[in-house]
């Protein structure tokens, strides 16, 4: 089984420096891409079927294809790496950032070349201090070696790359809110259209890609689209970093073929439930995905299969709900997070989520009524797609609506017993 993303990563150890990275074949993709036309690199990535690993699963090459090209294109064009990993339960990009910063930089150079970007930023969350340190020194090394800056490796292509460390707030991970944050404004999302590819950072064409997405690019350039597609078990190509947290025997993170089943990840890699705990359900890809329950464990963890199963792959990092944890309490925790992190821009989000939190609070405390469940349902509908500028609100609705569906009996017990049965 091939693990291109994590091959050079030894958790707990120093990441490969420039020399070690080059000795392992590093920066070969930059050399190769610079000899190709940008359109050829784009075609290769398109053929590979690479889809965004930040959670939405949008085809990467298609996203890139909206960037205006040619001499008339507005300048400068920007490429941004979204390294604002803050989705609760998600800890995958951190491994790539800390474990092999040169891989990300190489992916950014190749991707930036493909859309002919002039400036690139890594938008990093403040909490990842070690990643910041390691990225800083890798960027210096890459400049020194001529992989960044003017006329990269003697070519016509130039790229400046900067690390931008944020100052908190989940909303910054939203593509257009991130642009505002980077411009030195409050991180409120922007109306789309215009899409960032046409009018993004400072009104210029801008691509925002996730860390894991960008880290795949050098391998696709080096090894080809067919190789990439063959890494996976289904139609969605490549490998995927899958994580598991909660009361399992062996919580962790693994690079596996895209399309590995939930059951295999949960049982073979995470070792199954800890002794004395039974499985109740899981959020497959972070806080903003729909619950998956026991009869869905054979679903493949890829974009299409998870969607067909009524959930989303999201970030691919699962959070396990066990039988000794209260599902209502868990939903209260999740919706508290979303209410707190709402940026305050759209009414269904800032107003609706605080009501949802209050209703869940009283249900959890045993003072809720049956009519509260209908209220929650109607709030979940109001948070749905199309009612807000960004996906934070629909994301908050996903665990809520699926939690109400799967754990209705647990809600009823809170209402009838007038207390939380778990406390």
């Amino acid at each position: 089984m091939e693990t291109p993303l994590t091959n050079n990563i030894s958790p707990g150890k120093e990441p490969p420096d420039l020399r070690q990275y080059e000795n392992g074949g590093g920066y070969a993709a930059v050399r190769k891409a610079l000899r190709m036309a940008p359109a050829e690199v784009m075609a290769l990535v398109e053929e590979s079927n690479l889809r965004g690993r930040g959670g939405a699963g949008f085809p990467t090459a298609q996203k890139w294809s909206f960037v205006p090209m040619g001499n008339d294109a507005p300048r400068p064009k920007y490429l941004i790496c979204n390294a604002d990993e803050m989705e609760p339960g998600t800890f995958k990009d951190r491994l790539l950032l800390e474990g092999n910063p040169h891989q990300l930089i190489e992916g950014m150079i190749v991707s930036a070349y493909t859309v002919q970007a002039d400036v690139a930023y890594i938008f990093l969350r403040w909490a990842y201090k070690l990643a910041a340190e390691r990225l800083e020194s890798a960027i210096v090394e890459a400049y020194r070696q001529g992989y960044l800056g003017k006329n990269i490796l003697g070519s016509e292509y130039s790229l400046e790359l900067y690390l931008h460390v944020s100052a908190g707030r989940y909303i910054c991970g939203e593509e257009t809110a991130l642009l505002n944050a980077l411009e030195g404004k409050r991180a409120n999302p922007r109306a789309k259209p215009p899409y960032p590819q046409v009018s993004g950072l400072w009104g210029k064409p801008t691509i925002v890609n996730n860390v894991e997405t960008l880290c795949n690019v050098p391998h696709i350039v080096n090894r080809g689209a067919a190789w990439f597609k063959n890494l996976s078990r289904g139609a969605n190509g490549g490998t995927k970093l899958y994580g598991v947290s909660g009361r399992v025997k062996n919580p962790g993170l693994w690079e596996l073929p895209m399309g590995t089943s939930i059951r295999e990840i949960l049982e073979e890699h995470a070792g199954g439930m800890r002794d004395g705990y039974r499985f109740r359900g899981l959020l497959p890809g972070g806080a903003s995905t729909d619950f998956v329950v026991a009869d869905q464990l054979d679903v493949a963890m890829d974009f299409d299969s998870m969607q067909a199963a009524g959930s989303r792959l999201g970030t691919g990092t699962m959070i396990i709900l066990d039988d000794k944890t209260c599902p209502v309490g868990m939903l209260l925790n999740l919706e508290h997070f979303f209410a707190q992190e709402s940026c305050g821009w759209c009414t269904p989000c800032w107003s609706g989520l605080s009501w949802i939190e209050q209703i869940l609070q009283r249900l959890e405390e045993g003072s809720g009524q049956s009519s509260d469940l209908e209220r929650l349902q109607s709030h979940a509908r109001l948070l749905g797609p199309g009612h807000t500028f960004c996906a934070l609100a629909p994301g908050a609705a996903e665990p809520l609506q699926s939690g109400l569906k799967h754990f209705g009996d647990d809600f009823d017990r809170h209402i009838h017993e007038k207390r939380c049965p778990w406390r």
Partner: protein, 160 residues
């Protein structure tokens, strides 16, 4: 007035961005690093340096949660309260820390040594529950381990 060091650190990032506004969060972080928190004077100093209004900076400072507009203790404890840590025992740790330090969330201990803040997911969910103190991450926590870590900070402060 910004100190020479603050000015230099801000100046070092100027070329990263096409305008000064984009520097404002970085500048607030630099001021906070030197002064412990961002005072009204700090807001005014950064506003002057970047040619923004104090109100614009206030809007930034109050939006981003890692900018402190109130005094904090010598060490800031960020206890993760997101879902994986909640499942793995956040409430027990919160009780333990608030009792141990004699403060609630958002408060600073009487000796000005610790400020306790809840924080969203710190990205180490396979080692939940977790917290950060200043720039350091602590994982797989339980009350005993927390006592050891707090004692270590107390000792280091006294030794200094």
């Amino acid at each position: 007035m910004l100190s020479e060091q603050e000015k230099q650190q801000i100046e070092a990032k100027v070329q990263h961005y096409p305008n000064k506004r984009a520097l404002c969060l970085e500048a607030l972080k630099i001021v906070q690093e030197h002064r412990g928190w961002v005072t009204d004077e700090g807001i005014a100093d950064v506003a002057e340096a970047l040619q923004l209004t104090p109100a614009e900076l206030e809007g930034m400072a109050t939006f981003y949660n890692m900018i402190f507009r109130k005094p904090v203790g010598k060490h800031v404890i960020l206890l993760c309260d997101s879902v994986s840590c909640w499942i793995m025992g956040y409430e027990r740790l919160r009780e333990h820390l608030t009792t141990r330090l004699g403060i609630g969330l958002g408060e600073t201990s009487a000796d000005q040594r610790f400020t306790l803040l809840p924080n969203v997911c710190l990205g180490a969910c396979d080692h939940a529950p977790v917290m950060m103190i200043d720039n350091a991450h602590y994982q797989d926590l339980d009350p005993g381990k927390i006592d050891e870590i707090i004692a270590m900070y107390r000792q280091e402060d006294i030794a200094r």
